[in-house]
């Protein structure tokens, strides 16, 4: 390399690879701003959606009726379940229709209409059907939907012990 060439490269404007002062400031301020906004908003969102992510309450089994009294005709039983509703604990009154199926097994249906949640009753409309007074949904003895609603009545977990029927939590209908 001769002297002239050396001069040239020494005087060539340096290519600057660092970010500009303006970029640096907007990144740091933007980052800090996003951190502060996120740090404020995220806890609030998580706070609001907590019920969505909370664990489901496990249902206990409750004694409702003597097994020998259950016939093929669905009969209403009332029982109480211990419920925790936020900070409020209570015994919640529940209702179920208990019957013995053709297979001889005892089953229990929820009276909550699968249309929009009114309460169905047995044999008020047709002697062999559940009927909902709100918009006229109808269900068979097994809870299968005949009109209006979107699906069959929910079913309770059933356990038989020492001649008594116990009901547990709700599950989708398994009979239809």
């Amino acid at each position: 390399m001769d002297h002239d060439q050396q001069q040239e490269s020494a005087h060539a404007p340096a290519r600057r690879r660092e970010m500009t002062r303006r970029q640096f400031l907007s990144y740091t301020l933007g980052g800090a701003g996003a951190f502060m906004v996120g740090g404020t908003i995220l806890p609030m969102i998580r706070f609001a959606i907590d019920p969505l992510l909370a664990e489901k309450q496990q249902g206990e089994f409750v004694k409702v009726i003597e097994a020998s009294k259950v016939t093929s005709e669905p009969q209403p039983v009332e029982f109480e379940v211990f419920t925790v509703d936020g900070w409020h604990e209570s015994k919640r009154k529940m209702r179920a229709f208990v019957a013995r199926g053709d297979d001889g097994r005892i089953y229990a249906l929820s009276p909550v209409c699968k249309h929009l949640g009114c309460t169905v009753d047995w044999a008020t409309h047709d002697p062999n059907e559940f009927f909902c007074p709100c918009h006229g949904a109808r269900y068979t003895r097994d809870g299968e939907v005949l009109a209006v609603a979107r699906g069959p009545l929910d079913e309770y977990e059933v356990r038989e012990e020492n001649g008594w029927v116990y009901l547990g939590s709700l599950k989708p209908n398994s009979r239809v």
């Binding site: 609001a48 959606i49 019920p51 309450q57 929009l116």
Partner: protein, 223 residues
């Protein structure tokens, strides 16, 4: 006296142009019922706002006695209605106003529809209007639970059940609204929060946008 106070302030802050900008503008002939009586249909927007102001004011005063708690909500409403002076009137304003504001909003939307005012360049204001409509329905839905009587409870139960029929996200929406497995203490508290803070906040923001666009674009021309 008032003139003197006004002048005193105006001298320091020059508020007259601001005031002019907000209130002092011409009412075109085709929207003035004094010229054509049928132009009364143009009043429904203003009437909607009038009832909204009543809702917000009466609602603010109701919260002086109302308590969003399942043990006490019903009794607090019973108390404010029957024991507090003019309770029946203040609650009545809010109760009947809640229906009237929705009727007025609907009539206003019909006017906008049949005069074709939603067309270019006012499409965005129609969209904002629809958002206002849903916010208002939300206020009606969340407010209805607050007295915590049987009608309130079961109307909300059914309402939440309807929301839960939305495909895919229905169950999550139900949990979000209800805050638990059944409508209960948590539901009442969150409906109260939504009714008096979240939705009024959204309502006022949308109204500001709505009115800004009206001033900017002017009222639509005659048919």
């Amino acid at each position: 006296m008032f003139k003197a106070i006004y002048n005193w302030i105006d001298e320091r802050l020059d508020i007259t142009p601001m005031w002019r900008d907000i209130a002092d503008h011409e009412v075109p002939e085709h929207v003035n019922p004094a010229h054509h009586f049928s132009a009364f249909v143009y009043c429904f927007g203003g009437l909607t706002f009038f009832f909204t102001v009543i809702q917000i004011l009466s609602g603010m005063f109701l919260t002086m006695y109302y308590v969003p708690d399942i043990q006490n909500a019903y009794y607090s409403v019973d108390y404010l209605q029957h024991q507090v002076a003019f309770g029946g009137i203040v609650r009545g304003l809010h109760h009947w106003g809640a229906s009237l504001v929705i009727v007025m909003m609907f009539l206003h939307a019909l006017r906008v529809f049949f005069t074709g005012s939603y067309k270019h360049p006012r499409e965005m204001n129609w969209v904002v209007g629809m958002l206002l409509f849903f916010v208002m329905l939300g206020l009606g839905f969340t407010g209805y639970l607050l007295p915590w009587d049987n009608k309130a409870y079961f109307a909300t139960k059914v309402g939440i059940e309807i929301a839960s029929t939305i495909p895919w996200i229905g169950d999550d929406i139900k949990m979000l609204l209800q805050g638990g497995d059944t409508p209960g203490a948590v539901t009442l508290a969150r409906f109260f929060a939504i009714h008096v803070f979240f939705l009024p906040g959204a309502l006022l923001t949308l109204l500001a946008v709505h009115f800004y666009m009206i001033r900017k674009q002017g009222i639509s021309g005659p048919l």
